[in-house]
């Protein structure tokens, strides 16, 4: 008894509600997340059903889209069978199938190709088989079936919408959005909300107090209600309102969630700022979720009162009403006819069953159709890709990967976008070895640059940044004047922003700036590339950027690292790469980031392992650590012998402009210039080819033909103010491959795979594997799921088109002048994505992998509940295992006829979308 009461206590309900709200950060610190992270405790498909109801969204592509793939042979008959095999492992209730006299798999198979609609007047099948029709009609005469029986609706909203065409989104939403966006504002408006100290509830009460005299009728009712509740806490108000609506306590959670999900973005943001105030852009406002709920509930009940009196309706009848659909004899006969035809049954199956049994069968099949149909298609679609991926990996010839004494070693991030540049680099210079490690290089720091002193966490969001590292100028004086200049510039930018929008100062600044603004506008719209050059030249002229270095050495607690700690960090990263002694003369560390202009989602293109920021500070800090003599001597003790002539270079790859930059070259000792220039040349060539590959997805015709133009084109995209697609980001990511580069070198993966370097031979304990998997796989799954949801229903899980977006409160975006705060990714970011759950392929002995996944709660959750797929290739036994329904099962992977091409360039040029996998000779 007491336990039941506990789960129904208001606090418990509120806690559960919090867990289901969207979890997106403010846009300035956007990180890719599984937006349904809180649902990971449930099986994937079940979670999607539940979330789909909350978000009012489709959780898969439409069936037509899958069928189109089937037409194009991207889903084959075999894939459908594979998908059913996989699916029926978990959904193995065969009672419905038995009633039709079918096996479960057969039932699923026939269901996949069926087209049925039992309760849709628009789609009625043509009757060809009159005998059957007569039989069905005879059986079903006088029968009836109630669908969605027992579903009680407590919200009046749908009732007003359905019968009176009154929508709350156009009456109450503009009002509450106005309040909440003003209250949460982080500094976009000139006049800061003066109620911010006392909290949202106070603001709401004051506002209603004033507005009731000038507002619509429902606002007057709201004012009276609030007056009556004077002195009560928000919780008491919610409780009394909900009791007044006769909603049983068990249904409170779903009722409140439904109310909150009308404005899911704002609700999620309120919750975020309350529970994680440090995520605020500037300062978290004094707001509690419960205040927001109370205001929404009050507004809703006032509107209900108003509608009830306007339409003379009894509210008691609307709250807790039951809405059922009843299928009658004719519809049931149609249903029976469809079942017989679509499941290709002989009409004799009807004989043995009496009418009431048949009605139940119709009910079951209706439910099965709604639940399983689209999922089966989705599983088939995924199966196709998984099978191709695995067979490509075993068909791939690993011969040309092994060689000693590389000219250089280049460490890239594991990011799927770096797959292509690694491939190109190895093609340009086969004597270069590349590696994939997490892009923050194991350095969990908060970083501040000389330009601005604000600390930015440069590590994955799951890790708490432990140290502060600053960029300092080598010449203190120059650095100070640079900082001062930038502060001045920033200050004037900011005051211009506010000033140009006010009255008198706006008048002055309009006169001064107005005519001048036509020049930068003209330049930036027509000549984006040159305008960037101008701007930078101008800034350099005014105040040249000083030469800087990273201040990594520990001075005080929480600032910098000790030499021993540095050695640990370096050891871990080099261990992941599997390099112990065989160092090349030059080792490059390539952090990555992405530049784009006029883009609220810039953070989504950055390095996921660096919290969406550019990975540049990390590569610089890492290079400084590993070049240190003392650190190297500590490393030698751990068995990592870095020769004295090996030098580590900090570099940076811009995934949008395909530029590479190198840093701290002024401290590079002599004797490296020639080698450095050569590798730099190779990297630049690889960048050009990479740009060329990426341009095949864009529409510029010339860029598809010529790598030089392609490079120019991608640089223009980054600077173009009007460009909603600076790059396609992680579109189409679907794989994460853990293993040595031998596994994939020379294999074209079409930028679809995260590549994590791991050498199973040197890691008998599995400690390194643990670091690799924990550092990379959750990030890959997060990114994958973010793209998945934004792709399957861009309007509900994502944020719709970029075109009418309107930045608000420095927190997020609205569509048009006033709307819910949008979550997820924009349509232009995901338009070429294919929703496929991440498959991780690990090359390591099975036991090691098992141990890691079982030992980590979140990984175990997402694996066991099918939010990702896991395949393991055991190199000792040469056996493939696939994780299926709580166990690894040995599977046979067939070699496939993989296409061969001379170079990646030829391949992408000939057929970029046709091949996900191919061999480069």
């Amino acid at each position: 008894m007491s336990q039941a009461q506990d789960t129904l206590s208001f606090e418990a309900i509120l806690e559960r509600i919090r867990k289901k709200l969207p979890i997106q950060n403010p846009l300035h610190s956007f990180v890719h997340n599984n937006i349904l992270m809180m649902f990971e405790g449930q099986e994937f498909h079940d979670a999607l059903s539940e979330a789909g109801k909350l978000y009012r969204a489709n959780s898969y592509w439409s069936i037509e889209k899958y069928k189109a793939q089937f037409q194009q042979k991207k889903i084959t008959e075999k894939d459908i069978i594979d998908g059913i095999d996989q699916y029926s492992l978990h959904y193995h209730d065969s009672s419905t199938a038995q009633k039709l006299g079918l096996s479960l798999k057969d039932f699923y198979y026939r269901l996949t190709f069926s087209e049925m609609a039992f309760n849709d007047d628009d789609i009625q099948p043509e009757i060809h088989d009159l005998n059957l029709w007569d039989k069905c009609a005879e059986k079903m005469s006088g029968q009836s079936l109630k669908l969605n029986q027992g579903a009680i609706k407590y919200r009046a909203k749908e009732y007003w919408e359905k019968y009176y065409n009154e929508s709350i989104s156009s009456t109450t939403h503009p009002y509450i959005i106005n309040l909440i966006s003003s209250f949460l504002d982080q500094g976009q408006s000139f006049w800061a909300n003066p109620y911010s100290e006392k909290g949202f509830w106070d603001f709401f009460c004051q506002d209603v107090d004033i507005v009731q005299n000038f507002g619509a009728d429902w606002q007057k009712i709201l004012g009276q209600k609030l007056q009556a509740f004077k002195g009560h806490t928000p919780q008491e108000i919610i409780e009394s309102e909900l009791s007044m609506m006769n909603i049983p306590r068990e249904a409170w959670e779903s009722y409140l969630l439904d109310v909150l999900f009308d404005l899911k973005g704002w609700s999620g943001m309120v919750n975020k700022l309350e529970t994680e105030p440090w995520q605020a852009t500037v300062k978290a406002p004094n707001i509690k979720l419960i205040d927001f709920i109370a205001s929404l509930v009050l507004i809703e009940s006032s509107l209900d009162d108003f509608h009830a009196s306007a339409h003379s309706t009894d509210l008691a009848m609307i709250y807790g009403r039951q809405e059922e659909t009843t299928l009658r004899g004719f519809q049931l006969s149609l249903a029976l006819y469809q079942i017989t035809k679509e499941f290709k049954l002989d009409s004799s199956w009807l004989d043995g069953l009496d009418a009431s049994e048949l009605v139940l069968i119709i009910k079951d099949i209706d439910a099965a159709e709604k639940e399983h149909h689209v999922r089966l298609w989705h599983e088939a679609f995924e199966s196709h890709f998984y099978r191709e991926a695995m067979s490509a990996i075993i068909s791939h010839d690993r011969g040309h990967a092994t060689f000693l004494n590389p000219q250089a070693q280049v460490l890239f991030c594991i990011d799927d976008r770096e797959e292509s540049i690694r491939r190109h680099l190895e093609e340009v210079n086969p004597l270069i070895k590349t590696f994939g490690v997490v892009g923050f290089f194991g350095i969990d720091m908060k970083f501040s640059s000389v330009k601005h002193k604000r600390l930015i966490a440069q590590c994955p969001p799951v890790i708490q940044a432990s140290r502060i590292v600053r960029e300092i100028s080598r010449d203190t004086k120059k650095g100070q004047s640079f900082t001062r200049f930038n502060h001045l510039l920033g200050g004037s930018d900011l005051s211009l922003y506010y000033m140009s929008r006010t009255l008198f100062r706006g008048f002055l600044s309009t006169l001064v700036l107005g005519v001048l603004s036509i020049f930068p506008m003209f330049l930036q719209v027509f000549f984006p590339n040159q305008s960037k050059g101008f701007r930078e030249k101008f800034k350099r002229l005014l105040s040249p950027a000083p030469a800087t270095e990273m201040d990594i050495l520990q001075t005080t607690e929480g600032q910098g690292y000790t030499k021993i700690e540095m050695a640990k960090i370096v050891e871990a990263i080099l261990g992941m790469c599997g390099i112990k002694t065989e160092f090349a003369k030059l080792v490059f560390l390539m952090g990555h980031g992405s530049s784009s202009n006029n883009n609220p989602f810039k953070q989504a293109y950055g390095c996921g392992a660096c919290g969406g920021n550019a990975g540049l500070p990390n590569s610089r800090a890492f290079a400084k650590m590993v070049n240190d003599k003392e650190v190297r001597s500590h490393l030698a003790e751990a068995g990592i012998l870095i020769p004295d002539e090996t030098y580590f270079v900090a570099g940076f790859h811009d995934t949008c402009t395909d530029e590479v930059q190198f840093f701290d070259l002024e401290v590079m000792p002599e004797g490296y210039e020639e080698d450095f220039e050569r590798i730099k040349g190779d990297l630049n060539k690889a960048c050009k080819l990479n740009a060329f590959e990426r341009c095949q997805r864009f529409s510029s015709v010339e860029a598809k033909e010529d790598p030089d133009i392609a490079l120019k084109h991608v640089r223009e995209r980054a600077e173009d103010l009007a460009q909603p697609r600076p790059e396609y980001g992680h579109s189409n990511n679907a794989l994460a491959i853990v293993g040595l580069r031998d596994m994939t070198k020379g294999l074209f993966l079409n930028r679809r795979s995260f590549l994590l370097t791991y050498d199973w031979k040197i890691d008998p304990e599995g400690e390194i594997l643990k670091q690799v998997v924990l550092g990379g796989v959750p990030v890959a799954v997060n990114i994958n799921m973010d793209y998945y949801f934004s792709c399957v229903d861009n309007d509900k899980y994502g944020c719709g088109s970029k075109l009418p977006l309107n930045l608000t409160s420095l927190l997020g975006v609205m569509t048009g002048s006033s709307s819910d705060l949008r979550i997820g990714l924009a349509r232009q970011m995901i338009e070429i994505h294919e929703p496929i759950r991440n498959m991780t392929i690990v090359e390591a002995p099975l036991e090691r992998v098992k141990k890691i996944f079982d030992g980590h709660p979140r990984l175990k959750n997402i694996l066991y509940n099918h939010w990702m797929r896991l395949a393991v290739f055991d190199p000792e036994a040469q056996i493939w295992y696939m994780f299926k329904e709580h166990a690894f099962q040995q599977i046979a992977v067939e070699k496939s006829m993989i296409k061969h091409f001379k170079s990646s360039k030829d391949l992408v040029h000939l057929s970029v979308t046709d091949n996900d996998f191919a061999e480069i000779d």
């Binding site: 156009s170 976009q188 408006s189 004033i210 922003y497 883009n599 909603p724 075109l803 006033s818």
Partner: protein, 445 residues
């Protein structure tokens, strides 16, 4: 010169006809063709309007008149096609050409792969034609034609995403405001035709110098003042001045470039443009200048007060625009017409730029070294300082709700709509009475 300005009208006209006809012929142009075409059109139009403006300047601001044969002739009335090329018109045409050129280029990547690209290009081209017509028209009749084109394209672009509720709702709001004020132009034209037999704004002020016109037989000062008031009324909605200010912030539903060109630049400045055209007329009636100044001043104060509480990029810019346009109205009222023209050009460019860049705000703020984590951004209060703190808080709430402009508008509308309401009540009663009669009859049976 004649050819230059005629080509400014004919090029967009021919282009629109071409697009329209090919639409009916069901020809689907590839995106590339459209964007290349408008690129060349905007280059040509910009060059022509540039040279036209240069010619006008060399002409030492002597306006040049062009008269064409009447289009329609009904009794004494002639719909005369008369144009005027002067500094104001040439400047506005040049501004139009340049800004639309920028917007066309911007939309090329911004609306790439967009379903409505054709629609967007078509509407912007129609806007160009409408604005050119307004720029050079010499009579109210002809201005009205261009005026309507601008209004219609504006409404259709607010509803660009016509499959969503809110854009459609807000475009209806805009069209109601437009229509209401378009009556002003029509009324002004009708009265001017009636009393002065012309709507040519270069002729009207000259007529006023004739002492006979002020006599009662010709309408007298009251009627002539009313013509001026109608013109002011007509200018209200387009430039979002009080009491027609609330549709403009709500109009930010279309793609960003269309918001920029209409509500940051060209459409909102049509109000002051019309006032400039009639300035010589207004001068004769100080009352009208007072009205212009007061409306402008009130709007400027109102919009700046509301605007400073807005926390989203686009409606904030909309209010900022209204307040600057209010100042331009004051400038006109004070007689600084050249200055007002300069202010218009400067303001239009600045707002276009700000609208186009309004998605950069998060980047701008976050990369700004002054904006620190955990530190309130320093915002200077200005007017607010003059009132006490509790008062300030109350004013904030009023400002946040736009000083309840919609509420008061509704009240005014209610005054007009009461006959309808009475009728509805009457009908309801009538129906129920009938019902009772029917029931009564049924019972009898």
């Amino acid at each position: 010169m004649e050819y230059l300005f005629l080509s400014l009208l004919l090029i967009p006209f021919a282009w629109i006809c071409f697009l329209g006809l090919s639409f009916f012929a069901r020809i689907n142009f590839p995106e590339n063709f459209l964007s290349e075409s408008v690129k060349w059109i905007s280059i040509v139009v910009s060059l022509i309007s540039l040279s036209l403006a240069a010619l006008v300047l060399m002409n030492r601001s002597q306006p040049v008149h062009f008269d064409y044969p009447a289009w329609i002739q009904i009794g004494e009335y002639e719909f005369k096609i008369r144009f005027l090329v002067d500094l104001v018109g040439a400047t506005y045409a040049l501004l139009t050409a340049l800004l639309i050129g920028i917007i066309f280029r911007f939309s090329r990547s911004y609306l790439h792969k967009e379903e409505g690209y054709f629609r967007f290009i078509f509407l912007l081209s129609a806007l160009m034609l409408g604005l050119m017509l307004v720029s050079f028209a010499r009579s109210l009749d002809l201005i009205f034609a261009g005026w309507e084109m601008v209004g219609t394209t504006s409404v259709l672009l607010i509803g660009y995403f016509y499959n969503q509720v809110q854009p459609v709702r807000h475009s209806v709001k805009a069209i109601i405001s437009y229509r209401f004020c378009d009556m002003g132009i029509l009324a002004a034209a009708a009265w001017a035709h009636h009393y002065m037999h012309t709507t040519d704004f270069t002729v009207l002020p000259k007529l006023l110098e004739d002492p006979h016109i002020l006599e009662a037989g010709h309408g007298g000062p009251v009627a002539l003042t009313f013509i001026g008031l109608f013109v002011i009324w007509a200018s209200l909605a387009k430039s979002g001045q009080l009491p027609f200010s609330s549709w403009l912030p709500a109009a930010m539903e279309g793609p960003t470039p269309s918001s920029a060109i209409f509500y940051g630049a060209l459409s909102v400045h049509l109000g002051p443009f019309l006032l400039l055209r009639f300035y010589d007329y207004f001068v004769h009636f100080p009352l009208l200048l007072w009205v212009i100044g007061i409306v402008g001043g009130l709007s400027a104060i109102y919009a700046s007060a509301v605007g400073r509480t807005r926390s989203d990029a686009k409606t904030m810019l909309a209010y900022a625009t209204i307040s600057q346009v209010g100042i331009i109205w004051i400038e006109i009222a004070l007689g600084f017409t050249q200055f007002a023209l300069f202010h218009m050009v400067a303001h239009a460019s600045l707002r276009t730029w700000q609208f186009l860049r309004c998605s950069s705000l998060i980047q701008d703020f976050f990369e700004n070294p002054v904006v620190q984590q955990n530190e309130k951004i320093h915002r200077n209060l200005s007017f607010e300082k003059f009132v006490s703190k509790p008062m300030r808080r109350r004013i904030f709430i009023h400002a946040l709700h736009g000083f309840h402009l919609d509420f008061f508008t509704q009240k005014v509308l209610d005054i007009f709509s009461w006959p309808l309401k009475v009728y509805i009540e009457f009908e309801k009663k009538w129906m129920s009475m009938n019902n009772n009669v029917v029931k009564f009859i049924l019972k009898k049976r």
